[in-house]
């Protein structure tokens, strides 16, 4: 964890510089681009490949990382395997000690199912086909490449790790909930009360910390597992159905990039410029 923290601080340092207006310089240093190329950096979104931001706006909170871990969620496979999505949710809930309270107000969730019209508000909802009408979509944090939550956080308690994952430091979070207002996907939950009250303390996962009240949490793409070479737990739970494909979006030869090349996928609210790292086939 310590080492990770240091790496993170390095990124944070660079991003601080970037915030102070050094973006163009850093980008040029990093990419070795000529001034002409750097100026063209303000090309509009649609000219760059989907989800892979080429343009650089000012005041980026999170520096670009060498790795960018992402997911493809293939709802066709989930629809063909009833109960699979629930299995993923259960796995995550147990592994990360997600509390359950019997009221909506205190709700904490990392991964859940919701209607297509709620998940993809920017897409047309008129005369939907039966599949979309009938089935729900699996939602989790998008691990945005330009995460507004990281931009908003006043303590860097939510930060972008070197592998592109937007992680969370429960011990630094002051509970201001600015990140919740900033996340345009509703991915974040706050511990309105002691989460241990919503857990069966005899059946918790001792390997993952339970949180304290007053801090924010969300899906971290299993940063603790991915760091030691394991798959995210929900991906593992899908077995060989290929309902979820995990990999490095920056690696042109990865399975996920090949899949994206061969299939039409969509992202949630791409027009906001957050560059989600989670792709969907609905």
């Amino acid at each position: 964890m310590d080492k990770k923290r240091r790496e993170f601080l390095k990124i944070a340092g660079i991003s601080t510089l970037a915030g102070l207006g050094g973006t163009a310089v850093i980008d040029r240093l990093a990419t070795g681009a000529s001034p002409a190329r750097a100026r063209a950096a303000y090309e509009i979104n649609s000219l760059s490949p989907a989800g892979q931001p080429k343009e650089k706006g000012p005041a980026k909170a999170a520096a670009k990382t060498s790795q960018r871990l992402g997911l493809v969620i293939d709802m066709r496979k989930f629809n063909a395997n009833p109960g699979l999505a629930e299995k993923c949710i259960k796995t995550c809930d147990f592994l990360h000690n997600i509390p359950h309270f019997n009221n909506k107000k205190d709700e904490v969730k990392w991964v859940w199912l919701t209607g297509y019209e709620n998940a993809f508000q920017e897409h047309s909802h008129y005369y939907r086909n039966e599949t979309l009408e009938k089935n729900q979509v699996l939602l989790l944090c998008n691990q945005c490449d330009d995460p507004p939550c990281v931009r908003a956080c006043p303590t860097k308690a939510t930060f972008k790790a070197k592998n592109g994952i937007v992680a969370q430091d429960y011990h630094r979070c002051i509970g201001c909930r600015f990140c919740m207002a900033a996340c345009p996907y509703g991915s974040r939950s706050f511990n309105w009360r002691d989460p241990r009250g919503g857990l069966d303390m005899k059946h918790i996962n001792p390997e993952y910390p339970t949180r304290m009240r007053g801090v924010v949490e969300k899906c971290t793409m299993c940063v603790e597992r991915v760091g030691i070479g394991k798959l995210p737990a929900c991906v593992e739970a899908t077995g060989d159905t290929k309902a979820m494909i995990f990999g490095d979006l920056n690696d042109a030869n990865s399975e996920i990039r090949k899949f994206l090349k061969e299939n039409y996928t969509i992202q949630r609210k791409p027009s906001l410029g957050t560059h989600p790292s989670v792709f969907y086939i609905v």
Binding site: P148, A157, R172, I174, C176, F190, G214, V215
Partner: protein, 390 residues
């Protein structure tokens, strides 16, 4: 100079005891919240900020509004404001202390608040807000105190204070601009994502702050024989009217953009606030009364302040006009603005927020604390005034 706050008539002490009672109740409720967590409030995953942050936003405006009394005197050498600039500065101190307290009671982990300073994060607007709020608080305490001390000794204020006085003017603008930036830079929150949020905040601030000062001045005239001068009050009222109208103009512009463009996301929050939003056959409209109260009180307030009879002849109506404006803008900014921004949620759900009793008592407690501080500060200012006259 504090000894001036320790001498007062019965009304003074009864008023302070009254406020003190609510402060104590608020403190008790806060202890409860501290031990249980923010689950004791009405906030939820979908409406993650409630009346605490709404009060904070409104009071930043009240604090910034004080500058309308400071600026004419120091920049335009408008002597008529001589007696009330100190009221503006002291108002800013009380309002800022309320703001900071509202932030504190809203934090999930208040003991970690120093993390904002230990891990400074320039790309977070909250970091900058902390800087400007504390900066403005410091400037007002410094300027208010130094100038009052000089007044007491009946000498001109020392020269070195003037740069700080001038600096406090852009700072007043900046506290409300940066507070607007907390909201207007968030992607996906259509209601907040508007470039006129900052000017709109400033307009309502320049009405709400001075309105409170006029009310306070009228009360002090009755109970303490303090006369700020008819001309000064009249000028402040003119400022209040214009600022209220500019704010109304900005609100109408928001309506035009939303409804003429016909973009659903732009319209939703306004529909929810003013007409109610229907989702799955259920009508959600718990904020509609507040929104229309804002409209009605604005009209009533501006009318009372504009008609020659109510403005000049009768101080009761003048006070009522200022109160209408103050409360109207509270409905707009202390209730609607923050809560409306969360509807609908990023997932298209309409979740209504109702503050709990505990939350309301904490809120009243913090307001009482603010008025307590304001009363004590104004008492000191009056005491000095008296001393000079004697």
């Amino acid at each position: 100079m504090f000894e001036k706050a320790l001498k007062g008539n019965n009304y003074y002490w009864i008023w302070l005891a009254f406020l003190g009672t609510f402060m104590a109740i608020g403190a008790f409720c806060y202890v409860r919240q501290y031990h249980y967590g923010l689950g004791l409030t009405g906030m939820s995953r979908d409406v993650s900020w409630g009346i605490y942050i709404a009060q904070f936003t409104y009071l930043v405006g009240v604090a910034a509004g004080g500058v309308m009394l400071v600026l004419p005197f120091y920049i335009h050498d408008y002597k008529v404001f001589g007696k009330i600039t100190i009221l503006g500065e002291f108002l800013a101190i009380a309002a800022l202390l309320m703001c900071l307290t509202f932030i504190m009671v809203d934090l999930g982990q208040p003991l970690r608040v120093m993390n904002v300073i230990l891990h400074p994060t320039p790309h977070s607007m909250l970091f900058w807000d902390m800087c400007v709020l504390n900066g403005y608080l410091f400037l007002n305490i410094l300027c208010g105190w130094v100038i009052l001390t000089a007044e007491r000794k009946q000498v001109a204020p020392p020269k070195w204070i003037y740069p700080f006085v001038y600096l406090s003017i852009p700072f007043a603008i900046s506290i409300h601009t940066v507070t607007a930036m907390l909201y207007c830079g968030l992607p996906g929150r259509h209601f907040w994502l508007s470039a006129i949020i900052a000017p709109r905040f400033l307009a309502s601030a320049f009405a709400a702050g001075p309105a409170l000062v006029v009310m306070a001045a009228l009360v002090m005239k009755r109970v303490a024989n303090f006369d700020p001068g008819k001309k000064a009050i009249d000028k402040v009222v003119t400022i209040i009217i214009y600022a209220t109208l500019v704010n109304a103009f900005f609100v109408l512009l928001e309506f035009f953009v939303a409804f003429y463009s016909n973009i659903p996301g732009e319209k939703h929050a306004l529909e929810y606030l003013y007409f109610g939003l229907v989702e799955h056959g259920h009508m959600y409209n718990n904020l509609v009364p507040f929104s229309w109260a804002f409209v009605v009180f604005c009209i009533v307030g501006v009318t009372l302040l504009s008609l020659p009879y109510t403005r000049h002849k009768n101080e009761f109506w003048l006070g009522a006009g200022c109160f209408s404006i103050f409360i109207a803008l509270w409905f707009d900014k202390g209730v609607d603005f923050v809560l409306g921004g969360f509807v609908p949620s990023p997932l298209g759900a309409v979740v209504q927020y109702y503050p709990t009793l505990n939350e309301i008592m904490i809120t009243i407690g913090v307001w009482s604390m603010g008025f307590f501080i304001l009363t004590v500060l104004y008492k000191i200012a009056l005491g000095v005034e008296r001393e000079i006259e004697a």
